[in-house]
Subunit: 160 residues, 2 copies
């Protein structure tokens, strides 16, 4: 697996990965009917550095890395990860997380924070916990899950 | 005191209130040398609804109200408050908070969340606690305070 910075040429592949995840509305607090330009701007725009994971010539995942806050909070990174449908169970998420942690350390960040981990997203939470993230906050009923209703969201954090 | 929606004509007064607070770098995770246009875009732009508090013909405070997340998280509001230098101790912050809670309820929000309350900002924390916000998260050393060094930030939350 090779992980590299995303370029505009990757936009169609990134959107193909994001679209079903955002449309499902179960793991990201993003409008389920978000358009491709808005989704790509959310994922790759502003302070977000987007990367893609390639395996056997296919893009199998994408992540972004950014400062979680400005000013006095800019030493804490934030990141988001999506694995392509059909590429689950192959360690793509773990590889991207390990890469993001290395990149964040290299860029001088001192910690990484996930602001809004949906409490029903056990697969992601188990990976974050395995990589030494701690649950430092619980937001009661902060997410309206399409099938589970109002569920908690977690704030997760680790030093680098 | 009268609280009303901000208009572009209020920009100079809003900037006059924000500038010393952002430049001090003690309570908001915003670049201390942020420019007026960037500060006004942060405060009034995007999904932020900005309001101003007037007393005796002077603007004595400003706040914004917005959804804290998109999609399944859009039922939780976020807000930010700044009182003008020289207007402290007159209940401006409390009046703006009460107004924001009413506006948020009226707009259908079910909760309000503050994502990044600097733990040294006791004056604000005491007000949020008095208005039934709970500390639901603690971000270790997430803020680099200009004189205190790395201090915790709090996540605070209340239902509406």
């Amino acid at each position: 697996m090779r992980i590299r910075r995303a370029t505009p040429a990757d936009n169609p592949a990134i959107w193909a990965i994001l679209e079903p995840v955002f449309a499902a509305g179960e793991t990201y607090a993003v409008d389920r009917d978000i358009t491709a330009p808005d989704a790509l701007n959310y994922w790759c725009g502003g302070t977000h550095q987007a990367r893609v994971a390639e395996a056997e010539g296919m893009i199998v995942g994408t992540y972004y890395l950014c400062p979680n806050q400005g000013g006095g909070g800019a030493h804490v990174a934030n990141a988001g990860f999506v694995t392509a449908e059909g590429a689950a169970g192959r360690g793509v998420a773990r590889a991207m997380l390990a890469h993001a942690l290395d990149c964040a350390r290299g860029a001088g960040f001192r910690a990484m924070q996930f602001n809004f981990v949906i409490s029903t997203n056990r697969r992601a939470i188990d990976i974050w916990l395995a990589y030494d993230f701690a649950v430092v906050g619980r937001l009661p009923k902060a997410f309206n899950h399409p099938t589970e209703g109002y569920v908690d969201a977690l704030v997760m954090y680790r030093s680098l």
